[in-house]
Symmetry: C2
Subunit: 225 residues, 2 copies
DNA sequence: TTTAAAATATGACATATATCATGTTTTGTT
DNA sequence: AACAAAACATGATATATGTCATATTTTAAA
């Protein structure tokens, strides 16, 4: 099993602030986990005893609404941590994490990390920064949900995925989501999502190859109202 | 001017984790500010050079949507801090803060507090806890916005205000908001808010005395679909 | 390769909510 | 107290989105 202190992935998250000694200690307690596409990493209500570091793959964080529909709150990719909240709270998690493709995760037990939280202010401070950033993003999502049309939200989601996660060599979005996933991100019915995608195709803003989506007029998408 | 180390308000926020010495030092640099109802405390885009501690009154944190409508993200009451994000980031604030009634605020300069962030892990850890909590709440709001009807969101907002901020002696909600404010919380048109409030009245879930609202069937409101 | 299941697509229709118009009440100001 | 301005209220109508039905295509499995 790889060693945290040599792992390049940590550079993308708060673990980069830990000292070599701290990383060696954590590395000795970590466990690796392979998760297949569609598998549940953890579920709303579970008690997390540590955090996950995503070494490979993508997952969605979802929350079940009282009407029975899932809402996707965030997409998490290679390099990011999941479950940071477990470090500061013993409550159960409020979100589920589900793999969108095959993933490789490292599980770092809270019991080991909690020491560093207490001693290494850099680490705590970096976690704080990341949470502050997440909070800012959450504010934006709230405004979008509350004030924008399905058409606008879908356009912005496509732009977001394009800008944040990039495209494959053929130009299609590298994060492959089902139409239902898109619907669960923007908070609408799957049929509405499909309909708006069809509109976007007719307006030559995107093309589709099967379920793959390729943005052909990014500026046009930005102008969608 | 009062002294932080003797101020009871700090017990309600992260400042409670600071030592007496730290509080004395901050107290010497703080400034007090009286803000009238409707006044702007800070605006989206401003650079905050510290945090505010709310000693008296209530304010709303709002964000302007690209369609020109304001969205209320959070209500902040006596005891809470505003602008914590300025402590971990030099970016401009992403929200505006506007007083909902006459307020008394203490401004604590970042330059003084930043020391404590670096030295006192308890303080950083407590901030982290509060942000984690805010993030959890933001997740709930996102799901509500995305998945629930205006009727449900208004009912939940009334319940939230009732449970979090309480009522006056006559039973009306102690936080007095305009119909437009309600509309900006739940992300709908003011007319729709007024209409749904009228429905709630007809269904004997609430009564109104002018713009004041009194919940008369809390359980009924919880059952709204 | 064949077949079943899942995902995508589209039409028809129902419904919630926005918008515009207009009137009434409340609030604040001189 | 009188007045103007703001907030509240309600009707009529338009529009966006949800829901249900039903094809079609794609994917996964036997």
């Amino acid at each position: 099993m790889g060693k945290c202190e040599q792992c390049i992935i940590k550079e993308f998250n708060s673990l980069k602030t830990l000292t070599n000694d701290e990383l060696v200690r954590i590395s000795n307690c970590k466990t690796s986990r392979i998760v297949k596409k569609g598998e549940i990493i953890f579920e709303e209500g579970d008690i997390l005893k540590g955090i996950y570091c995503v070494r490979e793959g993508i997952c969605k964080l979802t929350k079940l609404s009282s009407n029975g529909k899932d809402q996707i709150i965030k997409l998490v990719v290679k390099g990011e941590l999941i479950g940071q909240r477990s470090l500061v709270s013993d409550e159960s998690v409020n979100l589920s994490a589900i793999a969108l493709n095959d993933m490789e995760l490292c599980f770092l037990p809270k019991s080991e990390i909690i020491n560093d939280l207490q001693k290494n202010t850099n680490f705590t401070f970096d976690l704080l920064k990341e949470m502050a950033h997440d909070l800012k993003e959450a504010d934006d999502i709230i405004v979008n949900m509350a004030q924008k049309s399905v058409r606008q939200r879908l356009a912005e989601t496509l732009i977001y995925i394009n800008d944040s996660f990039g495209t494959k060599s053929d130009g299609t979005l590298s994060v492959l989501l089902s139409r239902e996933d898109f619907a669960n991100i923007i908070g609408t019915a799957t049929e509405s999502t499909i309909r708006v995608l069809s509109q976007f195709k007719k307006e030559d803003l995107i093309t589709t190859i099967g379920k793959q989506i390729k943005i052909i007029d990014l500026e046009g998408l930005k102008r969608v109202e």
